[in-house]
């Protein structure tokens, strides 16, 4: 990269490369095993001496996965809609044709992660800016609360949260997973750190020019903290995609499951049908991996950005 100097080959460097390769192998192996396992026959998978390469590539695991349960491909409900129906049923916004449930799970997961990401980015950027740049009553208390709540595992409020979601008619909806994720104050904290980097003179200048609060925010703050928003977006997307616990406690019906939950359920139902489970795991891993590999540069930049400021 930056060095055109010749690198000396020292024994330590050789050692490093060898060890790194071993670790790299250990890290790739699980994924390799999932993806190849999805195409193996049952005999291959269950043989007492593991076969490291499918002796025969089959699609039967995927066929089984897709023939299991069905669900409509889309089904978006009005949030809080069940407050307004006589029997407490949900108001559907729109729904689509029936597809294998696994596809629906994937769509649910994407919807959940994207929604959580958008809402978090918007709310956190606004709050972060204010916390960094405004002096107002209650700021210190609020900030202390945020810092203390940041590391709180969600299990702590397991039961109250379920009960609350139940009264709000959000239990067993994807919104039930999204809202607590948005409420988690890590994003606010991160965006506050970023906003602190915005020079105060710029805000002052904007005010002298007569720009309103909203214009100052959208035209000065947002462009300045864009890298931070990127970092937060990636962080929220991945963490809500992988937040198994919230998903586990919040949704229960087949058409509302996420892909992680779906695989976990399959694993419990067919504890040793590894072919099927791995087909599910492949379906869960490949989309997000593809996203990651395509946007690798932005991912790593974004994450690194978060740290420098954090």
């Amino acid at each position: 990269m930056n060095t055109k100097k010749k690198m000396k080959i020292t024994p330590y460097k050789v050692f490093c490369v060898v060890v790194l390769c071993i670790f790299a192998f250990l890290f790739i192996f699980p994924l390799y095993w999932i993806v190849t396992g999805a195409f193996k026959t049952a005999v291959d998978i269950n043989s007492s001496s593991p076969s490291f390469f499918p002796s025969e590539w089959v699609m039967s695991n995927f066929q089984k996965l897709f023939s299991r349960q069905k669900a409509p491909v889309w089904e978006v409900f009005v949030p809080f809609g069940s407050f307004f129906t006589s029997d407490g049923s949900k108001i559907p916004l729109f729904s689509g044709p029936v597809v294998p449930a696994a596809v629906r799970w994937l769509i649910n997961t994407v919807f959940m992660a994207v929604m959580a990401m958008l809402l978090t980015c918007i709310t956190a950027t606004m709050a972060g800016y204010v916390l960094a740049k405004k002096r107002f009553r209650g700021r210190a208390l609020l900030f202390t609360l945020i810092v203390c709540a940041m590391a709180l595992p969600k299990q702590v409020i397991l039961i109250p949260l379920i009960r609350e979601m139940s009264t709000l008619h959000l239990y067993n909806t994807i919104w039930g997973i999204i809202f607590p994720t948005v409420g988690w104050p890590f994003g606010v904290f991160l965006m506050k750190q970023f906003s602190e980097g915005v020079p105060g003179e710029m805000l002052e200048a904007a005010r002298i020019d007569g720009a309103g609060e909203l214009r100052t925010f959208t035209q000065i703050i947002v462009p300045m903290v864009k890298p931070g928003i990127g970092a937060l977006a990636i962080f929220t997307f991945i963490s809500s995609w992988n937040d198994y616990f919230m998903q586990l406690i919040m949704v229960s019906s087949t058409s509302n499951l996420t892909i992680s939950l779906g695989i976990a359920k399959m694993q419990a139902e067919n504890s040793t049908d590894f072919g099927l489970i791995m087909a599910g795991a492949t379906l869960a891993a490949v989309p997000i991996l593809t996203v990651f590999i395509i946007f690798q540069k932005y991912f790593t930049q974004g994450i690194a950005m978060g740290a420098v400021k954090g």
Binding site: R68, S86, G88, S89, G138, Y171, L248, S252
Partner: protein, 470 residues
């Protein structure tokens, strides 16, 4: 600062007000739905509800129209009821008669199913209908006041021929029935015939009536272990899945009991049970496996890892595994033979499974009535098909020949002859059952990792009896 705290409290109050509003909303909706409820009861009374409802529409009396009702129905994998193909066929015939009732299925598993139902209850989203046994429907959710009393179903003439011990299992100590039974089975164990043959252990089995003695059981295990097959059997104890198998082997070996005869307290702490546990622990080839549940154990029998399984029944015997075309054999084609649990006194007591339907009280009378219509259809009118789908035996004495003419007729006849008569006491209705079974697998885990048997059994009993309110 103080002001801010006040603001926060105010905010919290607003939220709780909203929350209360939500609650009362729910209440009013219940009241509103009382009227159509009466209608659907009327519809049920008719023999062909569909026709009644169309007739009603013609004369345009709004009370009598069969309002569309949607039910959620969650089922545990009760034999073939865990398989959506079987259930879909049954639902189709139900909908022919009741087109206005939509049933949405969810399939639970025994590993996480309880957690799933419990979170749903807490989330105000419990299913309308549920299929499982009295240990959950009666002793747990029923006793907690979450279920609808089904006494009116038992008053039907169709309920007259339900076996008396089944009826009593569905009856809660509070005098209500929280389950209407469909099918039952005697849980047994199973062995791999080829592995036994190779170890010359078939001599220890009485294959005429599928029984063996405690002494022969241990000899057989030893013989198989010595033949080089080091994993003979597993006392699986990761969770509650299939735990009747571990209870049955331990109780039967030296005729120990699990509860007192009145089903009010646990009675595991006896010399018989302690001896059984100690000998099982000491026996070569039997692992206490805290990373395994009953379902996994069956899979290990099927792929020839284990030579016997303690979690077995008629439905497991006749289930055709994925990718195979016949039942009763392992992945490599060895024959699987169901066996009674070994006993010292020749008196086998098999653990019974009784499965049926229960209704969660979600406060909506229309749904409750529709759910009752569903139960009447499945467990009375259409009982033969419903039982056939499960792979178990009917709970009605009047229902016979369910399997006549099917592929599995021979196997089912054999189970009827050699296993069903050995059905023991149905003790799974002791108060605090859910907590006791958690304590049970925890106890097995402790024993498996070297805990002193007598101490651990006593610890179990204290914990279980506390939950039982003793």
């Amino acid at each position: 600062m103080r002001k801010f705290l006040a603001t926060m409290l105010a905010a919290a109050m607003t939220v709780s007000l909203v929350a209360c509003g939500g609650g009362s909303n729910g209440g009013s909706s219940t009241a509103a739905s009382d009227a159509p409820a009466a209608a659907s009861t009327a519809a049920e009374a008719g023999t062909a509800a569909a026709e009644v409802s169309t007739a009603a529409e013609e004369v345009s009396t709004p009370e009598a129209t069969a309002e569309p009702v949607s039910l959620t129905f969650w089922t545990y994998p009760v034999g073939g009821w865990g398989n959506s193909d079987n259930v879909d066929a049954l639902l189709a015939s139900f909908n022919e008669k009741y087109p206005e009732i939509t049933v949405t299925m969810e399939y639970l598993d025994y590993t996480n199913g309880d957690d799933q139902v419990n979170t749903a209850i807490e989330g105000g989203n419990a299913p309308d209908l549920i299929m499982e046994g009295p240990e959950r429907l009666v002793a747990n959710w029923g006793a907690r006041g979450l279920m609808v009393d089904l006494s009116d179903l038992f008053a039907d003439p169709e309920a007259a021929d339900i076996y008396a011990n089944v009826t009593s299992a569905c009856l809660s100590p509070d005098g209500n029935y929280y389950e209407y039974p469909l099918c039952m089975v005697a849980h047994c164990m199973a062995i791999n015939k080829t592995i036994f043959e190779e170890a010359d252990a078939l001599q220890y089995l009485n294959l005429d009536n599928h029984t063996w003695t405690t002494e022969d059981f241990f000899k057989a295990v030893q013989a198989i272990y010595d033949s080089g097959h080091t994993n003979v059997a597993a006392i699986y104890c990761e969770g509650q899945g299939g735990d009747q198998g571990t209870r049955a082997i331990i109780n039967n070996l030296y005729s120990g009991k699990f509860t007192n005869p009145e089903h009010t307290a646990y009675a595991v702490n006896s010399p018989e049970n302690i001896q059984a546990l100690e000998e099982l622990y000491a026996q070569d080839g039997i692992n206490f496996d805290p990373a395994l549940v009953g379902g996994g154990e069956q899979d290990l029998l099927r792929n020839n890892t284990l030579a016997m399984a303690f979690c077995w029944n008629a439905a497991s015997q006749t289930k055709i595994p994925d990718g195979m075309d016949t039942y009763g054999i392992t992945d490599v084609g060895d024959e699987i033979i169901p066996m009674n649990f070994p006993t010292d006194d020749g008196k086998v007591e098999l653990c019974g499974g009784i499965w049926g339907f229960g209704i969660f009280d979600n406060g909506d009378q229309a749904k409750i009535d529709a759910a009752k219509a569903f139960i009447r259809f499945m467990a009375n009118e259409n009982v033969k098909d419903a039982v056939l789908a499960s792979g178990f035996f009917p709970a009605h004495s009047g229902v016979t020949d369910v399997y006549a003419g099917t592929e599995t007729a021979d196997v089912m006849a054999m189970f009827t002859k050699d296993f069903m008569p050995n059905l023991g006491d149905y003790y799974q209705v002791v108060p605090g059952w859910a907590q006791a079974r958690t304590a049970w697998w925890n106890m097995l885990q402790r024993i498996g990792s070297g805990g002193d048997v007598a101490t651990e059994v006593e610890a179990f009993e204290t914990e279980a009896n506390t939950a039982a309110g003793q």
